[in-house]
C-alpha cells in the first residue's frame, strides 16, 4: 500500500472560538474525505485533529511537529495569530495550509504566502458588501463599535474605506477591549445616542452577540439598523431570532440557500446536532478542493498540488466557480443576508433571508489593491 495522504485539522477544540472549527470542523473534513471515497489514487487519506487551545504558540509548535512528521496539509486555524504563525512554517517547510477559521486581511495581504489558500471569509469580504449595499440605499451615516484587537481594527479599516467610497460618513466610533467585557450597555448607549442610521459591529464572537443584546435592550431606534461584520449562524441561534431580527450581515454560506447546501447541511446536522456555519462549510470545501488537486496532480508534493489548487475551479455546494487567486484567496460569491423576524421563521434554523448575492469580483479586495507581494504589479 502506498503512503497515506496526511491532512490535519488544527483548531480550537473546546475554547472560546470553538464555533470556528471545533467539533463541527472535525465532522466537516471527515465528510469531505468520505465523499471522495477515503483514498486518492490508491493512497488512503489520514486525518489528524490538533487542538491549538486558542494559543498561537501551541499552534506553531504543533504545526512544526506535524509537518515534520509527514503531514501534507493543515486546515482551519481558527485564530488569526495561529494562522499567521502556521503559514510561516508551512512556507519554510514547503507544505500546504488552508485557512478557513481566521479572517485577518493579512493572510492574503502583506503576509501572504504561496503555500496558503484562504477559504471562506476575511475582514474585507464580510464588511465591504453590507456597507456598500446599505450606504447605497441611503443609510449613509455610520457608528462603529470596534473591538480593540487586530481583527476588529482591520474590519474597522475596511468598513471606513467602504463607507468613504460609497459616499457615506462614519459619525462616531467606540473601541472596546476585546473579549474582556460582557457589559456593552455603555457602548450601546453611545451608539444609539449618536443618532447614526447604521450601527456597525466591528467585533466578533461573544463581543458581537453581547453588543446586539445591549443595543436591543437600550431601545435601538426603529430608524436605526444594526450590521454585524463577523457573525456565525450559531451565534444567531444562541441569541434567539427575536434579538437578532433585522440584523444585516454578509456570509459565505447559508445552509438553506440551495438544494445542494440543504442536502449537505442536513447530513451535517445528523452528525453534529447543529446546522453548519460558513467555517464548517469552508472546511469541507477546502478539504475537498485539496484532495481533488492531489488527485489531479498525482502527487501530494506541495508545489504541484498548490499549482493544481490555483488552476482548478472550486465547484461544490459551498462555492460555485470559485477560484484561488495569486494572493491565495479563494474568491467566490458572498451573500448579503438579513435575520428574519420571529414570524417569518417557519422551522428550526430558518433564520436568514438572502438579500443579494455579491459576485466574487466585488466580494473580495481587488487584486490591484492587494498588498500581497506575490501579486505581480506593473
Amino acid at each position: 500500500q502506498e503512503a497515506p495522504i496526511r491532512i490535519a485539522l488544527m483548531t480550537d477544540l473546546a475554547g472560546p472560538t470553538a464555533d470556528y472549527g471545533g467539533q463541527g470542523g472535525m465532522e466537516a473534513i471527515k465528510m469531505a474525505v468520505e465523499d471522495i471515497g477515503g483514498s486518492i489514487n490508491g493512497r488512503p487519506v489520514e486525518i489528524a485533529f490538533i487542538d491549538h487551545q486558542n494559543k498561537p504558540d501551541i499552534a506553531v509548535t504543533k504545526a512544526r511537529e506535524a509537518y515534520d512528521n509527514g503531514t501534507d496539509m493543515i486546515i482551519n486555524l481558527s485564530n488569526s495569530a495561529a494562522a499567521l504563525g502556521v503559514m510561516e512554517i508551512a512556507k519554510a517547510k514547503n507544505k500546504v495550509v488552508i485557512v478557513t477559521g481566521a479572517g485577518s486581511s493579512k493572510i492574503t495581504g502583506d503576509a501572504c504566502s504561496p503555500n496558503t489558500v484562504h477559504f471562506a471569509f476575511n475582514a474585507y469580504s464580510l464588511s465591504n458588501a453590507p456597507v456598500e449595499a446599505l450606504t447605497r440605499a441611503g443609510d449613509d451615516d455610520w457608528f462603529l463599535i470596534v473591538s480593540d484587537f487586530a481583527y476588529g481594527l482591520s474590519v474597522e479599516g475596511a468598513v471606513t474605506g467602504a463607507v468613504d467610497q460609497a459616499g457615506g460618513k462614519v459619525v462616531g466610533t467606540v473601541k472596546h477591549p476585546a473579549f474582556m467585557a460582557t457589559d456593552f450597555s455603555s457602548y450601546a448607549l453611545q451608539a444609539i445616542s449618536s443618532g447614526a442610521k447604521v450601527i456597525g459591529l466591528s467585533n466578533s464572537s461573544s463581543d458581537t452577540t453581547n453588543s446586539i443584546r445591549a443595543l436591543k435592550e437600550f431601545g435601538l431606534g426603529d430608524d436605526q439598523k444594526m450590521v454585524a461584520f463577523t457573525l456565525l449562524i450559531n451565534e444567531i441561534h444562541g441569541l434567539g431570532i427575536d434579538q437578532a431580527s433585522g440584523l444585516v450581515y454578509a456570509t459565505a454560506f447559508y445552509w438553506d440557500r440551495t438544494e445542494a447546501t440543504r442536502e449537505w447541511s442536513k447530513r451535517f446536522y445528523e452528525r453534529v446536532g447543529k446546522m453548519p456555519n460558513m467555517v464548517n462549510a469552508g472546511d469541507y470545501s477546502g478539504t475537498l478542493h485539496y484532495l481533488r488537486a492531489v488527485e489531479a496532480a498525482g502527487t501530494s508534493d506541495a508545489d504541484k498540488v498548490l499549482e493544481k489548487m490555483h488552476e482548478m475551479p472550486v465547484n461544490d455546494m459551498f462555492a460555485e466557480n470559485g477560484r484561488v487567486r495569486e494572493d491565495g484567496m479563494m474568491v467566490h460569491d458572498m451573500y448579503l443576508v438579513q435575520v428574519k423576524t420571529p414570524e417569518e421563521s417557519k422551522y428550526p434554523w430558518d433564520y436568514l433571508n438572502v438579500l443579494e448575492t455579491i459576485p466574487a469580483e466585488k466580494a473580495f479586495v481587488p487584486l490591484e489593491q492587494s498588498e500581497c507581494p506575490l501579486v505581480a504589479k506593473d
Binding site: L13, A14, A18, G22, Q23, A48, F49, I50, D51, Q53, K55, P56, D57, I58, V60, T61, K62, R64, E65, D68, S80, A81, L84, G85, E88, S104, K106, A111, D148, F149, A150, Y151, L153, A178
Partner: protein, 314 residues
C-alpha cells in the same frame, strides 16, 4: 565523585542525547519553560515572594529579541542579551514599585503591572497586537552557527539551560543568597539587623526577571514567533503551577514541573478533545492535594525515608 556531581553529569548526558529520542523542538520548548520556571522559583521558592506577573518578563524579552532581529538585523546573541537586559530593567522597575507590599498584595501589584504591559503591547502596532510578531529570523549564532537547523538551536537552548541552572544555583548559595534566605526566614529580624530588605528583594526580582527574559527570548527565537499569550496573566499562573507541582525551593523541582505541565498539555490535547481542560484541572487538583511538596519534594522525602530505613537496617 559525590552523588551530586554524578547526577549533574547524568543530567547533562541526558540533555545531549535527548534529541535522538524526543522531537527536538518539543525539547526546546520544554527547556525554555524549565528555565522560566526555575527563574520564577528564584522568587517564590528562595525569596518567598509570589509574583503573579512573571509573564511580563518572558514576553517582553521575546518581543525585544523579535523586533531587534526582525527589523534591526541583530544577531541571536545580541537579541538574547538585549532581551535579558530589557526584562531585567522591567524587573527592576516593577520590583521597585511592588516590593514593599506583602503576600497577596505583592502578587496583585505584579499582576497589575503585567496587565499594563499587556495593554501596551496590545495597543502598539509593532507587536502586531494579537496577531503576534511573525517571521523572526533565527539567524547565525556568533555569525557562525546557523540556527535554522533545529539541532543547532537545540544545542543553544540546552547550553543556556545548563548555564541558567548553574547561575541560579550560584545565586542561591552566594553571600547574597544567604541574605535572601535570612529575609525569607524572618524579615523583621533582617530589617533590625540593618539590612535594607527592599533592596535585596529588588535585586532578586531583577535577576529572576532577567533569567525569565532569557527563557522568553529563547522561545521567541525557537518559534520564530512571539505573541501576546506570552504576556498574558494565564502564563504567569501556569508558571506558578509548574513550580508548585514540581517542588518549590529546589533546583530540579521547577524543571520537573515545567516538563510535566507542558507535556500534559502537549500529549493530552489532541486525545481528549473538549474534555481537555477538565482533565488537566483534575490532574492539577490531584497533584496539589496529594503532593504538597511537589514531585521533587515528595520524592526526596521518600528517598530520605528509605535511606533512613536502610541505615537503620544495617
Amino acid at each position: 565523585m559525590n552523588s551530586r556531581t554524578l547526577l549533574t553529569l547524568a543530567g547533562i548526558a541526558a540533555l545531549a542525547l535527548a534529541p535522538a529520542f524526543v522531537y527536538p523542538m518539543l525539547m526546546v520548548k520544554l527547556l525554555c519553560f524549565a528555565i522560566f520556571a526555575s527563574a520564577f522559583n528564584l522568587m517564590l521558592g528562595y525569596t518567598g515572594l509570589l509574583s503573579f506577573g512573571h509573564a511580563m518578563f518572558f514576553g517582553t524579552a521575546g518581543y525585544i529579541l523579535g523586533l531587534g532581529m526582525k527589523h534591526l538585523g541583530w544577531s541571536p546573541e545580541i537579541g538574547l542579551i538585549a532581551g535579558m537586559a530589557g526584562a531585567g530593567l522591567l524587573g527592576f522597575i516593577a520590583g521597585a514599585i511592588a516590593i514593599r507590599r506583602e503576600g497577596i498584595y505583592f502578587a496583585m501589584i505584579t499582576l497589575a503591572i503585567s496587565q499594563l504591559i499587556y495593554f501596551l503591547a496590545m495597543q502598539t502596532d509593532w507587536t502586531g497586537r494579537d496577531d503576534g510578531l511573525h517571521g523572526i529570523p533565527r539567524g547565525r549564532l556568533f555569525g557562525l552557527i546557523d540556527l535554522e537547523n533545529d539541532l543547532a538551536l537545540y544545542g543553544l537552548v540546552a547550553v543556556c539551560f545548563v548555564l541558567a541552572l548553574a547561575a541560579i544555583h550560584r545565586i542561591v548559595t552566594s553571600p547574597f543568597g544567604q541574605v535572601l534566605t535570612a529575609i525569607r526566614e524572618n524579615e523583621p529580624r533582617a530589617l533590625s539587623l540593618g539590612y535594607d530588605v527592599a533592596r535585596y528583594k529588588v535585586l532578586a526580582f531583577t535577576l529572576s526577571a532577567a533569567l525569565s527574559g532569557l527563557a522568553g527570548g529563547l522561545k521567541a527565537l525557537a518559534l520564530s514567533y512571539e505573541s501576546l499569550n506570552d504576556l498574558h496573566w494565564s502564563l504567569s499562573g501556569e508558571v506558578v503551577m509548574m513550580c508548585i507541582l514540581g517542588g518549590l525551593g529546589t533546583l530540579s523541582g521547577p524543571v520537573a514541573g515545567a516538563f510535566f505541565v507542558i507535556l500534559l498539555q502537549n500529549f493530552l490535547a489532541d486525545k481528549v478533545g473538549e474534555w481537555l481542560s477538565v482533565i488537566i484541572g483534575l490532574v492539577f487538583l490531584f497533584c496539589i492535594l496529594a503532593m504538597r511538596k511537589g514531585f521533587v519534594g515528595e520524592l526526596s522525602q521518600r528517598l530520605a525515608g528509605l535511606r533512613g530505613k536502610a541505615r537503620a537496617a544495617s
